[in-house]
């Protein structure tokens, strides 16, 4: 196949766009992993569930339990409402799926988050049905032409918000007391407790923040993906991969990992095979793991064992 510079640029643009979505969701993984040392297998549902809530309030008509509701609230109010509801969701998630298991290692927590994932997907199906729902975009145009390239404004928004969140997270962890307490808790919980950090509270905050990150991801990707109960599944898996490849626990690692996966699979799909695109991404990821088992950016916290 001949090399077409325009096509390559377009692939790069699209790869970075989908990659920044992986990176955004990966931030949520990293946050929870750093705080409590577990992988949250319901992270994809943290993206899906708020998207459903948002469309319910946003659209002129939505079927909830088979009954049509007509909320159609203004966008900003809906966003605020969803974020508030998801604070409660994060607290509840911690209470039910993590807190009772906090002293029992990582596997039981993995299982309970899987349980939450099964529960939420089917709860969503029962509540909103199986029909995909379209979330309206904030933009009036789908694409803007930049020379021969086609760029979606929604992608630019995603990239912008991801950058802001990274900056915020950096500020939070490096400059604020709360962030420092969160890091201390992540590194050594016993010591953190000894120096007077209220570990339980920090963990709750972490889950809330992670739920909010999921919510923001959901609100951003829903206009591109449509809202379905599976919308978070593969994204979460790729985001998990991104966070591991970057070096689990590392925020820059998650970003680089996410972008790398997005770009690799877009180019791989074009130049190698779109049927094997997920395989290409994972082969490279496994390769990275084998040659640099701690991930690209190593670990901020050494593997806790």
């Amino acid at each position: 196949m001949h090399v077409d510079p325009v096509a390559n640029m377009q692939l790069l643009v699209s790869g970075l766009a989908i990659g920044s979505i992986y990176a955004l969701v990966a931030l949520g993984f990293v946050l929870i992993y750093n705080a409590v040392g577990v992988v949250n297998f319901a992270q994809g549902e943290f993206v899906m569930f708020p998207s459903y809530i948002a469309v319910t309030f946003l659209l002129p008509a939505t079927a909830v339990f088979g009954t049509i509701v007509h909320w159609q609230l203004p966008v900003l109010i809906v966003y605020a409402l969803v974020l508030v509801l998801m604070v409660g969701f994060g607290l509840l998630f911690n209470r039910i799926a993590y807190h009772p298991l906090r002293d029992r290692g990582w596997l039981p927590v993995v299982i309970s988050t899987i349980g939450v994932s099964i529960f939420l997907r089917n709860a969503a199906q029962i509540t909103w049905g199986s029909q995909p729902i379209v979330m309206p975009s904030l933009f009036t145009v789908d694409t803007i032409a930049a020379g021969p390239l086609h760029i979606r404004p929604q992608d630019l928004l995603i990239i912008g918000v991801t950058a802001l969140l990274i900056a915020f997270q950096y500020f939070l962890f490096e400059r604020t007391t709360l962030g420092k307490q969160m890091r201390a808790t992540a590194q050594d919980r016993t010591t953190a407790r000894l120096i007077g950090i209220r570990v339980g509270r920090i963990v709750s905050i972490t889950f809330v923040y992670s739920a909010l990150l999921g919510t923001i991801s959901g609100l951003l990707v829903a206009p591109l993906f449509t809202v379905t109960k599976e919308m978070g599944g593969l994204i979460a898996l790729k985001a998990f991969a991104a966070s591991i490849v970057g070096g689990f626990g590392s925020i820059p690692g998650a970003i680089v990992g996410g972008l790398a996966i997005g770009v690799i699979e877009t180019f791989g799909g074009f130049y190698v095979s779109s049927s094997y695109v997920d395989a290409i991404a994972f082969i490279i990821l496994i390769g990275v793991l084998l040659f640099k088992p701690s991930g690209l950016f190593g670990e901020r916290v050494t593997e806790k064992a």
């Binding site: 992993y33 040392g37 577990v38 992988v39 297998f41 039910i96 799926a97 009772p100 298991l101 002293d103 029992r104 290692g105 990582w106 596997l107 039981p108 993995v110 299982i111 309970s112 899987i114 349980g115 939450v116 994932s117 099964i118 529960f119 939420l120 997907r121 089917n122 709860a123 199906q125 029962i126 050594d188 919980r189 016993t190 898996l237 998990f240 991969a241 591991i244 689990f248 049927s275 094997y276 997920d278 395989a279 994972f282 082969i283 990821l285 496994i286 793991l289 084998l290 088992p293 991930g295 593997e303 806790k304 064992a305």
Partner: protein, 339 residues
Amino acid sequence: MGGRRALWIAGIIGVAALLPVFVHSDYVLTLLDLAGIYAIAVMGLGILLGFTGQMSLAQAAFLGIGAYTSAWFTTHLGWPVWPAMAAAIVMSALVGLAVGYPCLRLSGHYLALATIGFGIIAQLVLINWKAVTNGSDGITGIPPPQIGPWVLDTYGKYYYLVLAAVLLCAYIAWRIKTTRVGRALHAIRENEIAARATGIDATRYKIIAFVLAGAYAGLAGSLLAHDIKFISPDSYSFDQSVVFLVMLILGGSSSISGAIIGALLLTMLPEVLRPLKSSYIMVYGAAVIAMIVFMPQGLVGLFSALRTRFEPRTPPRASAPAGLSNTPSAAGAPGAEPA
């Protein structure tokens, strides 16, 4: 093994062997066959995760490799079922070796991701390697096994094959657990560095665990293929691997009976919940959370706790198979609470 426990096991096997005499429903027998097949896959995962502390989220992929090997040898080359089944076991074991070797350096979440990646790759190969797998459309006309003049073509007859396979696999797993290999695996799980210091060849034993997990899944896959007589790639997904993991952990991960009970329970639970109509999978999800929260040692732990309560004379060591998930160090993997 205490005499009392031997009696228990003999009794359970007896009841299991007599089941088809009383149960004539094809539906119930289908489920029992499935539960048995899953139990074999879960026991294999147990050797890897429960005994050795190595995470895997690719058990369904190994099941698929076994199923496709068996189907290909019987439908494509016209082999009888038994050698095809052996080929399935060997093939999955070899792939286990091929996956296990490079993964030796990985543990915990890294190993989880590597195995997830392998599972996804394997499923894509099943979908795309059409010359061998017939793609997404799957392979039809897989023959049932035959013992002399008897064709195992009903769920009732197949049940005995599955039961025999489960018992054989359980016996092998028990032998592994109670002999030198098992102690080595256990030592690796508890503390790999210490194990190496005492002269255990951790590399070799970890590979053995991967190979065994593959072989168990290969047998399960082959049994599944000849039971349903049709296979297609969608049955060997990441989601199915997750189900196996849940079965193992809820059953009680380092115990053999736990693996079997976990498989049986999680196969039957959604069926029992069917009358709830559309909400039954949701209730199933909630039940998974409740079980992991309220039964720290898995179902096996719950049973032995009940038994200890009602039979205070039984010495606890004889009655309580080691539950895994209660202590952080036993999880044997990174991410556990700092010691």
